[in-house]
């Protein structure tokens, strides 16, 4: 039985299920660096999934689906930034509003545009292209694990590297981090901290749009109500677990993807789905507990750090 659970399909699934979490978490870590914790990613992913399907269906092109999903991401990112940066609203409240808005809007549009309840699928929705590297085909296990994924799987890996370079090797990245750490210091150096916060929020919107499009156009081509299924929140956990470092966050997201995939494998061998669906969340809670506990210990050790009891 163990063989049936721990096989190459498990790893293949890991990569697949981790991708939307990776994409969203990459966006969320950018806003995290500018001092905004964005739990609105959940809603942003959902909107991305819906508008991905919409674009692909009407224009007959998955690229148009992705573009539409990103455009909606830009708009929602902008709205988030306007409320948080300009109007100084509480970021949690704004994010929760975005999540509720997204789930309501998609249900509403699903009915009014496609005239269906629950889910919409059609052969006219063009899926995202799959990628096959012929040089991998020779080695069976590499072929099974890494080949024939939807294109965003590979894009997400490239983005991990790009965002790492952006954050730590470019002036813009330094400004982005500075705008969260000490905005006044950045301002007096002649760079607008507000602008950096806006940028991060918009990037986050786009990346969540990608995550959504990957969900609805990557493997299955369909949209179903609340299909983001808490991936936005798991992404937040991955960011915290990875301390907003792109590489660490990537690893954390892969780990959550692994537990997700493990749940599916267990279901295949007959474990009740009520239990298997809990696995990713239990893993999240355990992981967060470990991280915060470790931070607490560290904190206790370096009491010299500037803080009064």
């Amino acid at each position: 039985m163990l063989k049936e659970i721990f096989n190459l399909t498990l790893l293949q699934h890991t990569i697949r299920t981790a991708t939307p979490i990776i994409l969203a978490a990459l966006g969320g870590l950018l806003t995290q660096h500018t001092g905004m914790l964005n739990i609105g990613m959940e809603g942003m992913i959902l909107l991305g999934a819906f508008f991905g399907v919409l674009g692909s269906y009407f224009f007959g092109s998955s690229l148009m689906g992705v573009l539409l999903a990103s455009l909606v991401g830009v708009i929602i990112g902008l709205i988030f930034a306007i409320f948080v940066v300009e109007l100084k609203s509480d970021e949690f409240i704004v994010a929760i509003a975005i999540n509720m808005f997204a789930s309501g809007l998609t249900v509403f549009l699903l009915r009014s545009i496609f005239g269906v309840k629950g889910a919409f699928s059609s052969p006219d929705i063009v899926p995202l292209p799959r990628v096959n590297f012929s040089f991998l085909e020779n080695v069976n296990f590499l072929d099974k694990i890494f080949n024939n994924h939807s294109i965003f799987v590979y894009i997400s890996w490239i983005l991990v590297a790009l965002i790492y370079i952006y954050l730590y090797k470019t002036p813009q990245g330094i400004w982005l981090r500075a705008s969260g750490e000490y905005p006044e210091a950045l301002l007096t150096a002649g760079v607008s901290a507000k602008k950096m916060k806006y940028k991060s929020s918009i990037y986050c919107g786009v990346l969540c749009g990608f995550a959504g499009a990957h969900l609805s156009l990557g493997y299955l081509t369909l949209f179903s109500e609340n299909m983001s299924a808490n991936r936005g929140f798991i992404a937040v956990a991955a960011i915290i677990f990875g301390k907003a470092n792109p590489i660490m966050t990537f690893i954390a997201a892969l780990m959550f993807g692994f537990f997700d995939a493990l749940g599916i494998r267990l279901q295949v061998v007959g474990v009740p789905s009520q239990f298997t669906q809990m696995i990713p969340y239990i893993a999240t809670i355990v992981a967060l507990f470990i991280v915060t506990n470790r931070q607490l210990q560290k904190h206790k050790k370096s009491k010299g750090e500037r803080e009064l009891a």
Binding site: I174, A178, L187, G190, G304, E307, A309
Partner: protein, 514 residues
Amino acid sequence: MAEKLIELKNISKQFPGVLANSNVNLTINKGEIHAIIGENGAGKTTLMNILYGLYEPTQGEIFIDGKKAVIKSPLDAIKQGIGMVHQHFMLLPSLSVAENVVLGSEPKKKKFFMDYDKAIEITKNLAQKYGFKVDPREKIEALSVGVQQRVEILKVLYRGADILILDEPTAVLTPQETDELFNVIRKLVSDMNKTVIIITHKLQEVLAISDRVSVMRQGKLIGTLPTQQADAKILTEMMVGKEVLFHDLHREKVSGEKVLEVKDIKAKDNRGLTVLNGVSFSLRAGEILGVAGVEGNGQSELVEVLTGLRNLEDGDYFINGKKITDVNPSNMRNLGISHVPEDRLTMGLSKEASLWENLLMGLQHKKPFVVKKIHLNKKKIFERTDNLIKEYDIRAIDRYMKVKKLSGGNMQKVVIAREFSFDSPILIIAQPTRGVDVGATEFIHNQIMRKRNEGAAILLVSAELDEIMRLSDRIITIYEGSITGEFKNKEVTKQTLGLYMTGKQNKLKGSEDN
């Protein structure tokens, strides 16, 4: 006739509830060192922030080189050749010195990437040119305030500013560092045609460095005069509006018990290097023990160890003869220690919180300010808040004002007021009058002496030797984490202390032998 460089015309700034600047007319000449002085809250920082584009004036215009200048953001100011070193540092703690210096206009390679090596080189060269000792790779958070100050100045110089605004740059410097800074300023003006505006509370500095001096009082510019025509008495009168008399401090004979003692204590700094190398001393009730030392020789860490903020690596710590095993902040507070930290913004205050909340801290869980452990008794709290505001002359709009909106000196008064109000038997005080005006300094000195006369045991750490010599009963000198000497006050000269503080006491002995 001197050439006019900057003209501020009729500048006013209204904050909710305070008119911080009121019809200010100020002219800065090309190539001069212009000092601006005034009491805490007089509006000096506000005026300079307007010139630097951080605040928009409610009214008034700025002319640079005779042309009307539109300065809406710091970027505009930088473009006009203005650079500013702020009263409270604008450095990113997690970044390195070099990254901070070039922040905002980083050297690039391949158009897109930060050229880190170049940034290090630039910083190194600049530091060398002006004789600053800084390691470009060091993180800001590991540096002492004195070094941070230098980084701030390098930042401004890197941008090639022609007009330098220095807002209380000497408040955190030792006398030696101040001398060094003044040499740099003179060099900048004479060799490189720069213009400098400097704010300070120390009148001897004004007289030493400036060409002209402007005095502000309650938002207004009272007058500008050539420094040659000024002396401390004239300036003080202009600042305060009346003559200020300095009385000798009244020192009562108190002979108290030994309340605090440390034996051979050791501690490490933030980088993990040993900074306290076996320090021993004791402190009696009714005594002020001054710790004299050049910044960065372990005195900051000593204060942190005594207040429980830093790990005690080794050695023994006794309070009232009892050995303390668990040295942590809340425990030390419960044992009767009050702490005035050297850096008011990171350790002394919560700047986003209000005045009343800041003044309450430490008592929030104590009767009568809390009822049934969960409900704050606002009436009692506000009564106390208002009394402290009055007693310590904290200039604020009301008790609800966020602390970050207070002027620098008034923030300091908030910390002093809170810590002194606890009536603790032990006071650990670091840099009590940093950024505080003459009148308030006098007031704080009187309060410290009152505490002593009432029987408190006081440890005083200060970069101002004058302050230490004025207040202390006994003085210890600290150098590279060890105590190099102990003296009864009045039996030691500034020169001798200076030698002990720099580890050159052997020279003294040598000359005595001869």
